[in-house]
């Protein structure tokens, strides 16, 4: 048992050693943390605007029937069949959420709740009926661990080791995400803010919603597979939400969310090193701390500013801040 709750802070061990003695490990963990946070953060900005911020959490539950069916069909707990089952379940999840949302008066949050709890329940029932005698849960057959990234197989290109496979894969997903964002920026923007306007401009908001969320489900499941669940859920929400406290403009929000992602990755890694704790946990804690700081000290909408200038500002303005956000 630890004698003190917090271990003594040792500057050399916390900040110098990771970048000297263990450089090769540190760099890949931090890069991976940044890539996951930045990719999830970019997509997260749009997800938050559509009030679907909890879709990551939802998928982490609803993939249970997917991996169970994949196991029953293949009789194997290898990563590939588990991954295919999980992606299929993820796609079904977001498709159902969209279908309920678009064809009824149910709001996205309730639709998410309906879909993931029923799918998760189906998974629990499937396991207890058919697969009770094997150890089958997402935590041990699917979710990866960011701390092990440096130990993964290296991708070799032209005789040079360029990096661990999951990092290269995540970088590719990041580039695809940015490419899609650039290609469909206008459509994403309009459908996120004003479905009516989108329709009048000839953009089918329904189709974009499906497209965005399907891509999202693939990103989420493959991130689960490489870094585990908590980091992904946190990074879908924190970078975007924190940035939105600082600016009303979408491009600036995207920019800031990428900046925050780098901050989470670096500071989170060092926090975890200091405490000898889970790295994904450290990065998520830093994200929570940065959010809290911004929430209190944000120059225009921070709690502190509101308190100081209580008589001058309209306290209710934060509620409408999402609607105020513009593309200019």
């Amino acid at each position: 048992m630890r004698e003190n709750f917090l271990p003594a802070f040792d500057f050399h061990r916390t900040f110098v050693e990771p970048w000297s003695a263990y450089f090769d490990n540190t760099i890949w963990i931090v890069v991976m943390g940044f890539l996951v946070a930045a990719t999830c953060g970019l997509i997260g900005c749009f997800i938050i605007l559509r009030r679907m911020a909890l879709v990551g959490d939802a998928i982490s539950h609803s993939l249970l029937p997917g991996i169970t069916l994949a196991f029953l069909l293949t009789q194997s707990r290898d990563t590939l069949p588990m991954m295919i089952g999980a992606i299929a379940a993820g796609v079904v999840t977001v498709a159902l959420i969209e279908a309920i949302r678009q064809s009824s008066r149910i709001k996205p949050d309730a639709a998410i709740g309906i879909v993931f709890s029923s799918l998760f329940a189906i998974g629990v029932v499937l396991i207890s009926v058919f697969a009770d005698s094997v150890d089958l849960d997402a935590e041990c057959v699917l979710y990866g661990e960011i701390g092990w990234i440096p130990l993964e197989d290296q991708v070799v290109l032209g005789g040079h080791e360029i990096g661990p496979l999951p990092v290269i894969r995540m970088a590719a997903i990041a580039i695809i995400a940015i490419g899609l964002l650039l290609a469909f920026y206008k459509e994403l923007l309009v459908t996120s803010f004003d479905a009516g306007l989108a329709a009048s401009l000839g953009i089918n908001p329904g189709r974009f919603q499906y497209g965005l969320t399907l891509f999202l489900s693939v990103v989420i499941v493959s991130s689960f597979e490489s870094v585990g669940v908590i980091l992904v859920i946190a990074m879908l929400i924190f970078p975007g939400a924190t940035a939105m406290l600082l600016t009303d403009r979408l491009p600036r929000t995207l920019w800031l969310s990428a900046l925050f992602s780098a901050l989470y990755a670096v500071l989170g890694f060092h926090l975890a090193t200091w405490l000898d704790a889970s790295i994904a946990g450290g990065m998520s804690v830093v994200a929570g701390a940065v959010f809290t700081l911004v929430w209190i000290f944000a120059p225009r909408r921070g709690l502190l500013m509101k308190y100081v200038f209580k008589s001058h500002t309209n306290v209710g303005s934060s509620q409408s801040s999402q609607a105020e956000m513009t593309a200019s």
């Binding site: 207890s128 094997v134 990096g163 090193t273």
Partner: protein, 319 residues
């Protein structure tokens, strides 16, 4: 639209330059300083204890999972990757106890790191597998000291491979460890004889004690399935309560790494008392001594102590 796109170019540029910088930086590598003796990394507390018993003073064993940690809930800490990387030898339980981490270790092994699953020496005929899923073996072999002896051979072989100079020493220690385990099983058999054969029914949280049951003549009833994730169904609970009443079972048991709620509920409904806490997927705190009846004293942070704790707890409650 123009300035907007420019902003995005900046974003991409920033992303790419960050990547580029880190990739370049990644090429320059340094190795941590050398230290004396072998560095062995082990996953569970049982594997770490076994490795330390054979290795002794010739090196250091780092256990990744601490006492009381359910292998399913284990999260790697920032230091663990360095421990694995700088280890001269990695030992893990195998049989899917470590889940996906085992895949990673196998890949590390393929790249030339000495990596061994300690259970690989256990003959397949001795392993238990569920009827409907062939090949998905029960990993809890350490509850039968004889099966665990097979693991000693694997550890001796693994250590001899990384330190061939000390093969004879490791072999000798392995042999004495095996006879210790044999003695432990003998002791277990005679100790268990205090419980009449028809009362040897072990009701616990999850299916961890099948090898134990087979070795010591217990019928084992796990309330939940083998996964610590699945929950007991209502019908299962009712069935077990009925069973306990029918067989007049005196006590049922909770496990150190599984929530006791369901067992407490069953205890209340059936009238069987809770006989105590058994170690399942992890051992106790190192140096934590416990006293049993007849002047027994053992350290629950060791394999032998863990085993004795379980046996004493079961026998005291059921005899």
């Amino acid at each position: 639209m123009r300035p907007l796109l420019d902003r995005f170019h900046f974003l991409i540029l920033a992303l790419l330059s960050f990547l580029g910088l880190t990739l370049m930086a990644g090429c320059g590598s340094q190795t941590p300083e050398e230290s004396q003796g072998l560095k062995v990394a082990a996953t569970t507390t049982m594997v770490a204890d076994l490795a330390a018993a054979v290795l002794g003073e010739y090196g250091e064993v780092h256990g990744l999972m601490g006492p009381g940690v359910d292998p399913h809930l284990y999260k790697a800490t920032a230091g663990d990757v360095n421990t694995l990387q700088s280890a001269d030898l990695i030992l893990y339980n195998g049989l899917h106890l470590e889940g996906r981490m085992a895949d990673l270790l196998v890949r590390l092994g393929r790249r030339g790191k000495p990596v061994y699953a300690v259970t690989e020496g256990v003959p397949e005929s001795e392993l238990l597998e569920p009827e409907e899923f062939a090949g998905h073996y029960d990993p809890h072999v350490w509850f039968d000291p004889i099966l665990w002896s097979y693991c000693v051979d694997t550890v001796v072989e693994a250590l001899s491979e990384v330190d061939p100079m000390r093969t004879t020493v490791f072999k000798k220690r392995g042999d004495s460890l095996k006879s210790e385990y044999e003695a432990l099983r003998e002791w277990g058999h005679s100790y268990v004889s205090q419980i009449p054969r028809e009362n040897r029914i072990l009701v616990t949280s999850h299916d961890a004690y099948n090898y134990f049951g087979k070795a010591f003549g217990f019928q084992v009833v796990g309330v939940q399935g083998i996964s610590t994730m699945s929950e007991a169904g209502l019908a299962d609970i009712v069935k077990i309560v009925e069973y306990i009443k029918e067989r007049n079972i005196k006590a049922i048991f909770v496990e150190s790494s599984v929530s006791p709620a369901t067992i407490q509920r069953i205890s209340k409904d059936s009238g069987a008392k809770i006989g105590g806490e058994l170690f399942s997927d992890a051992m106790g705190m190192k140096g934590h001594r416990e006293a049993g009846p007849d002047g027994l004293s053992f350290d629950v942070g060791t394999y032998e102590g863990m085993f004795k704790h379980n046996l004493v707890t079961i026998v005291e409650a059921l005899k």
